[in-house]
Point group: C2
Chain length 167, copies 2
DNA sequence: TATTGTTATACTCTATAACTATA
DNA sequence: TATAGTTATAGAGTATAACAATA
């Protein structure tokens, strides 16, 4: 009786808090990727920029910044570093001479492959205590939620995020 | 053929990246809770401190800080705010006169209940696109991973986190 | 007039170091 | 000597505001 974890008032302890779990997992993941990408200027966020730039549909740096939740002023410094490292360069967009297209260099693509291998290892360790089905549900569930949130906030209005989740 | 999303080189796009999904979900959750707890000094983190302090096994503020990934110097300011708000107070630990016990006031417990109701609503909206089984797997999966990480880093050595996830 | 990108600046958050008091 | 807690300060990261170029 005294052993039942859900009988006392502290039934809703930190352990049962989704926010706590999400925070711990996210911080651990961030920390691990930061360590694994210590040699990459800009770290995990630069990696995500590379992924977005290597993919097709993403054109200018503002779109990428929004997609990744990065401020456009921060994006400038980030891209400066990546360009200096020779993994990416900015080319003028022929359709809009204000904008810049992000082009990943061959060296950048090679780095990308390497980083993805490192990431896979980290993820395997992170999900080590789940069986295959659970992993799959966790991955696809998080992905689906993220896509929905991303869709709700397609270009500018990042405040809808809050509004959607507030009430 | 051209429609197959996994045929091209951008098979591993942002959408398939666990880190991206985790980041988007975490940021959205953090933003929503921050908005929902705008009236609470210290925001979501203060809420977590209240939960930890209201639970039994957590005694002094350093233990709580470690559990939540908060620096002990930051904890001081956080507790100052909470004490000023009258939801918590520090009492000397009779067993160790250096340490302080965290005691949640009746007002604090009432606030805690209210915040937990707000949180439940936010979580429902966040997980809206998952069915019951998926929700359960996501919750328990994240919780299990978080507990494992937390256990691997019981008191001091926060670096083991990285080491565990590095290779 | 609005938007992309840049720069400089200010601000927020967090960590470091030094200190007091206990153990 | 080591630890709990506090304080002041330095640092990293981020956002704000003003700007130039283009739409």
């Amino acid at each position: 009786m005294a052993q039942d974890p859900c009988e006392q008032k502290n039934c809703r302890d930190l352990d049962g808090d989704l926010g706590w779990a999400l925070g711990v997992v996210f911080r651990a993941y961030a920390k691990a990727t930061r360590a694994a990408m210590a040699d990459v200027p800009g770290g995990p966020r630069a990696f995500q920029v590379l992924v977005a730039a290597a993919g097709d549909q993403h054109g200018n740096q503002l779109a990428v910044a929004r997609r990744l939740g990065i401020d456009r002023t921060v994006m400038t410094y980030l891209l400066d570093d990546l360009e200096r490292a020779g993994v990416l360069h900015r080319t003028p967009d022929p359709n809009d001479r204000r904008a810049r297209c992000l082009v990943v260099t061959p060296a950048g693509l090679q780095l990308l492959e390497d980083l993805q291998r490192r990431l896979a290892t980290i993820e395997d360790h992170l999900l080590a205590c789940l069986d295959d089905d659970e992993r799959q549900v966790l991955r696809s569930g998080l992905r689906r939620i993220a896509l929905r949130l991303d869709e709700a906030d397609p270009v500018t209005d990042r405040c809808t995020l809050m509004r959607e989740l507030e009430t």
